[in-house]
């Protein structure tokens, strides 16, 4: 761990996470919803790497690798769903896909 305090890294990760959450709540475009999810996942990974570096253990980066795999899987399936929604509803507005049947 270099001279950057652990707590300040956690604060930066929290700020990034809250920015992603704000984008998730504020945007109606489903593409931006997916982007905001990526930002939040990335902020969580930053917190893990900071914790692993704080105690000098490799576990933080190992969990970051798992987060990377989960993010890649999530974005690929999410974008495929986005293509289907766009093809069916002719829009990316999340309100258009908000009504359920049954």
């Amino acid at each position: 761990m270099s001279s950057v305090p652990y707590e300040s890294v956690i604060v930066v990760a929290g700020v990034l996470f809250v920015l992603g959450l704000a984008g998730l709540l504020a945007r109606r475009n489903l593409l931006f919803v997916l982007v905001s999810l990526e930002i939040m996942v990335n902020a969580a990974g930053l917190a893990f790497v900071a914790a692993g570096s704080r105690w000098g253990r490799p576990d933080g980066q190992v969990v970051f690798l798992f987060i990377l795999a989960v993010a890649a899987a999530e974005v690929s399936v999410g974008l495929a769903l986005l293509l289907q929604i766009r093809r069916h509803f002719k829009t990316l507005d999340s309100n258009a896909a908000g009504t359920m049947k049954g």
Binding site: S2, A22, I39, P58, Q61, A72
Partner: protein, 177 residues
């Protein structure tokens, strides 16, 4: 304030600013440009924290692969664009912001390299060798689970993305008329 702290806080400021710009853009391509800058800034923060493996993977996977997926999908949408936007790519305003933020990150990297650091700024807190032996030692079950998850994601994306079937879910079925 030490040199590491200056580099870290500059990268943190760039990450927060570009993330703020990502969630406020109306144009998807502009937002993705800022998203790349945000991921690069987080990679710089990983580097300062003594995690060079995580920094490299952040650049390769996040800023490389995942954003490329987003860009491909945006390009597929633009094939059916509602209105043409001529010369939107060549306008200075489009790429001036991401270019300026990336230039700051590039300047940081040049300064770090000019100071003679070869393996990160300070002593590397967690070398990649330790991460690898932990990943394939204690966490090998997680690696196999991640492989199964990625296989399921590949099959699911190929199934959902295929154009042939009429519907995959009752949400997408045509309403009975």
């Amino acid at each position: 304030m030490t040199f590491e702290a200056v580099v870290f806080w500059a990268a943190a400021a760039i990450a927060v600013a570009s993330t703020l710009l990502v969630i406020t853009r109306s144009n998807a391509v502009h937002a993705l440009l800022y998203l790349i800058v945000s991921f690069l800034a987080v990679a710089v923060m990983f580097f300062v924290l003594g995690a060079p493996l995580a920094a490299g993977l952040e650049v390769i996977i996040y800023a490389g692969a995942i954003v490329v997926l987003f860009v491909f999908v945006v390009m597929m949408f633009n094939l059916q664009a509602e209105r043409p936007r001529p010369n939107a790519w060549t306008r200075l305003r489009t790429w001036a912001g991401p270019a300026a933020l990336s230039a700051i990150l590039l300047a940081e990297m040049v300064i770090v390299l000019a100071r003679g650091g070869k393996h990160g700024l300070g002593p590397v807190a967690v070398p990649p060798r330790a991460v690898g032996s932990s990943l394939f030692g204690a966490y090998v079950l997680g690696v196999e689970l991640a492989a199964m998850l990625l296989l399921a994601a590949v099959v699911g994306a190929a199934h959902l993305g295929s154009r042939k079937p009429a519907s995959h879910h009752r949400l997408f079925e045509e309403p009975p008329s």
